[in-house]
Symmetry: D3
Subunit: 284 residues, 6 copies
């Protein structure tokens, strides 16, 4: 179960509210590489964890709980960037409504055009669980496979795209408050990349974990096609690299190259049945 | 641009058509860890690849093209498993319609209850781009970040969950034809896990690539919070492991533990404006 | 069954077409608090209504039918706001295409940037069943629970958020025609809020209806935890109010406060099976 | 920010694991009336709350935090219901795979047909953020309008449909452990219905809050159409009730009935432009 | 604006309620080829129709209004199929709850396994705007392009897939009441196919309408590539037919065949910028 | 199976990169009328084709394969339009980040406001499988019905809306490179409209194919309601046309007009059961 402290994980301040940056920050809340995703992903991995010990369940709970605080920070930052524009701007604009005020600034920052419209019309100038184009987050992005190694790679992927996003947001703003918040979140993403890779190492590293799942006897997979790069170019060329020659990453074989060609038959399905809603012409 | 050969990549045969297994196979077509996903993910990574050389773009094209053939194999397998039930079963059932025939078998395999209904009602007993519960694939699962290392981790994650799925499908069927097809696809997933990890090694491995993105100067992130595990348990306990002590995975620091507590303030948003659609009670 | 009159429910006129306002109006068509939602919600509640009399079914049909006319008004308003810009603006712009014309005005109102692009590219300058950011309406928002009291609260919620939206739209435009249309729709939302609350009163009010569903014998719920506010703050503080002391809203008890703590056990799931696609390390 | 305790909010035990009931429970996790919805809804209402005081923000945080623990309980219950079937059943079945074991029981409870397939194929026999038919939760269901009264009605609606669901689940199982867990969750839903209604009363009750939003001057809405029931039946009949006569719920007027008819014009849009991608026949 | 009559368009009776057939019928309500789709599609085409006359707008309104009554019939049929099972069946089962009753029948028809679970858990045994696998209808399927010929082809497509579905449903049931309802709906689909094709003929038929849109000067399209079949087989074979030789359908040219090959260049994108969140290795 | 050539199907050049046009082009990639849709639609129709011969399966494979190359062209065009703005513009802007550079141009073309934000934040200035408002493509738009005539009408509809879109894009740009690419794609859409209509002619044309499906004995449909236009206007008027009189399109009957009225009963559902989660008031 859970507790809260109403103070934020880390200070969130905005020197100059900017609705356009609020839009960008929404990607870090409701984007597929955002904080709702990692929070819920770690929770579902924890709650469904099956193993002889609860170590990984426990660790995931610590970090999932941390991530709630990240959503909170970002939601606060979005609301702050959507705050009332300065009084002088209001006066310059003819607007006597909040929308007019937001529209009236004359600068790109205050334009309704640069905003996700739902932030105003549906949320009343607050954050929503949507991405930077207003698309709601879909929970199908919560990857929790029941395989701890697969999950850890999913987590590294999530924290890698997450940190790429945070860096882009950092580069996109010149607001000192926002840069400070983001330099913290970028740091936490660094740690979380490390953390999930540390689990993989503790589990024995690539040679022990690969191929995922390692519980399937590898001699039951097609031994002729498990370490060869398929070249599908019509002219037979292919890019050489670490993946076309030399020892495989798990140390069990050598990479080779296969010029791809059909190994199977031309498929032929049976004709349609008379009573299947097909056209007469399809019925044998 | 692209060419096709109407023969299949690998033989697809079904000894005993089983609509219930057709449902399961749909997960490998339109599930989030399925073949449409990897196919389109590699294509979009290739088409948007920015780098001094085209090596990774080229390589991704080879494998993306290979994956089209995997969707094709699975779609063929689904249709075959949905084929007309054996004549004797038909005769046993009173049904003279295709639905009746499928329903009438009396065995779990032939029951309409075990099928995705759209496979019959919408697709006419063919495969569809949906998962094993009938949910259509959503293209937001195509991860292509513009960062080659992040993309490679996304690809390892996709092939890890993909192979986990293929193994579960292999274990779920006792049809020799289906087992043969799957033992091939499991092997290709093995290779693709290797392949994306090989790219990461060629790029310099963990120490060179981490943290992703490595182009952000690491001294600009919060140095006090980039290598410490946050313990969020209310009683101060935490699970010890590779992530709480010892050298970090990139070799640049030591892992430590931080008993989490608020570092920020209690956030206070301004009151609502009179003209913002709030209640009077919210207006300062 | 249904009839139509090709005249509108209420006059819809636009003094000065404004594509940016067309975008805003889309929220009232295809937003989650828009008119498609209430229309379909009332229809599905009516069509599935189970009760000894058809009174509520009948009433819902009346209002659902009214709401079709509201979608129609808004769709007309969107198309009107997307009408050809004035000839003089066209001439000023170099554009000889409709897109150019729309883009060429030089004012915020006529900019393609302020438009939902699909309104032009997919709809040909007409309304679509999408929200103000271009996201299509999803029918999962049609709440029809089979419980009349729950449905009425859902309806009050829908008309409350709906009227909030209409007020925001009213405040956002200075077009007299649009203000007139909206002052009518705001009035209808007022009535509909009243209407669903009137049903709740006719059903006996809060004391008779609560808790919803009232058909579950209340002595079968956990009597120790049905009227106490759970304080989850780590420092034991909580906001006092009507919900922490005094008689409950149904008059059956007194509100109290519970300092939250775990009442249950640490959950332990069994280890993964050898054949479940997990890693070997997860298998006991 | 947030803390956790790894013990559950309330005991979760399953006497006889039942994959079919696991499917049902999924509705309470990822259904539109489930726990992810209320948890996130209260969080976003709290984080975006604008008011002269932080009372409602604070209160919402308490309950949002409580709700995380409810998702956790349900996720645990789903995983437990998906646990290994009893050894004797395994032995009866010929299956040596986990799927086979689940399928092999011969009873409805253990049939793969009764399961959400993704719970097995994607989740590895764990809970997922999906509903009882396998549809992922979509965050567009998080209602946070920026208007505190509208939000409270949304919350009452959510807890009403939520308790209806919990009662249906209670009625659907004969497992004592599950009944005990649900009798607790039903009680909490009772309290939460009370709690949000208490806020509405503290804000002044219906007369003070209606129409929502109360900050829009009511004399600016169409006074001729804000308290009359629209009868849309083609034969002029309508169901009489509390909504057709007598004082309105806010005490400001009397309900009347209006035989609906068009008050507006037949709309005529301009012809299509020559360069708008229309057919020639549409161009004036 | 709109009126209703509470009687149904056509009689809906169910001789023997069958929850499994209720599930199938849901496809005709909320499936992509269902009645919500055509109803809303015709409405949006009507409301956005731009042309010198209102003929097509008017006609579309007539048929859109008719379609509301079809959704109503199907929703009624779903609820009827979900009705209380006969008392004797109830008595046979030990169940004293509605779920138990539905489950307890012992026949495939009454099994909860064969039902969409949301029909029970969320809808309380009523129809919902979902398809036969429980997936909610998404309004992106409302095709209204602003081009009348394109719209008519979309409508023929909708009514063709719609009638295919209705025929499959007819074949799937042996309930006389349901067969009668469906034989009516199949007839209306026949008429609607005719109706939209009649519009295309009235507009001048294929030669006048093609290519859609006909307002784009055809000499501005690539004259070398507008009437040739692209053969993409790697071995140069292709299926001969009406599309490879002979006069084109619009009578303006002859079909030819082109052995496909690249006509363009190898694309080369610029390297990533140093500040774009890419890896260092991608930066030129 | 499949092969690729890394050269493009047709030259793609951009004279002056324009992020606003990149946004528009996204509709042709991930819009419901875009190239992913037709590509996947033709593939799934091919892979599931049931007929006595493989002719249509083969033909569909040729064209599906061609369409991959169209997605590739458009993805390349999007990335090119998102390329680094000219050096002089960069210098004019104060920006030292990629976002700043894009924002800094001062012209509509270079404004971040005119971009889909995910193209920058998630994709790193590359194409994504989303539409022009940032909504991801949903695979439910892949129509493959198992009925060849229905499928062909779906394909004509797809290529008609697709060409309408391509024409709008052509009209929206003044970039010579983009116009050249689009004049090619418009031509291919012309051919594909022809191609699917040619299949319908080869199958016997309207009289042979209608009503779709033609395998359902037409005398089993309601003969009184299969060729009459339903007039639903409350005043009895209706628009006369090809659809109200004269021979039907299949030549089997004459069109007539029916003044619509209820032919069925008022539906009455049973009351709710005591244990179904309804309110007591609903229980008979």
């Amino acid at each position: 179960m859970y507790y809260h402290d109403k103070r934020l994980q880390y200070p969130v301040t905005v020197d100059k509210p900017n609705p356009a940056f609020a839009r960008m920050l929404q990607q870090a809340i409701g984007g597929v590489e955002g904080e709702i995703r990692v929070c819920m992903q770690y929770f579902f991995q924890a709650w469904g964890n099956r193993a002889p010990t609860t170590t990984y369940r426990d660790m995931l709970l610590h970090t999932a709980t941390e991530e709630i605080g990240h959503i909170e920070m970002l939601a606060t930052a979005v609301a702050m960037n959507l705050e009332t524009a300065p009084a002088s701007v209001q006066e310059e604009g003819a607007a006597d409504s909040i929308v007019g005020a937001v529209m009236g600034g004359g600068s790109a920052k205050a334009s309704i055009e640069g905003m996700i419209h739902k932030n105003l019309l549906t949320g009343g100038l607050a954050a929503m669980p949507i991405d930077s184009d207003g698309v709601p987050f879909n929970m199908s992005h919560i990857y929790a496979s029941g395989n701890v190694a697969a999950d850890m790679y999913c987590n590294v992927a999530a924290e890698s795209t997450g940190r790429v996003l945070a860096v882009r947001l950092f580069n996109a703003t010149d607001d000192d408050g926002m840069k400070k918040m983001l330099h913290y979140m970028i740091a936490r993403d660094t740690m979380h990349q490390q953390q999930w890779l540390a689990v993989l190492e503790e589990l024995g590293g690539a040679s022990a974990n690969l191929p995922v799942p390692n519980s399937f006897p590898q001699d039951m997979e097609d031994q002729a096609n498990n370490y060869n790069f398929y070249a599908t170019s019509v002219d037979g060329t292919y890019p050489e690299g670490r993946w076309t020659a030399g020892p495989t990453m798990d140390g069990r074989d050598e990479f080779t190259v296969f010029q791809n060609k059909p190994l199977g038959q031309e498929p032929v399905l049976g004709p349609a049945r008379p009573d299947s809603g097909a056209q007469d012409q399809q019925i044998g």
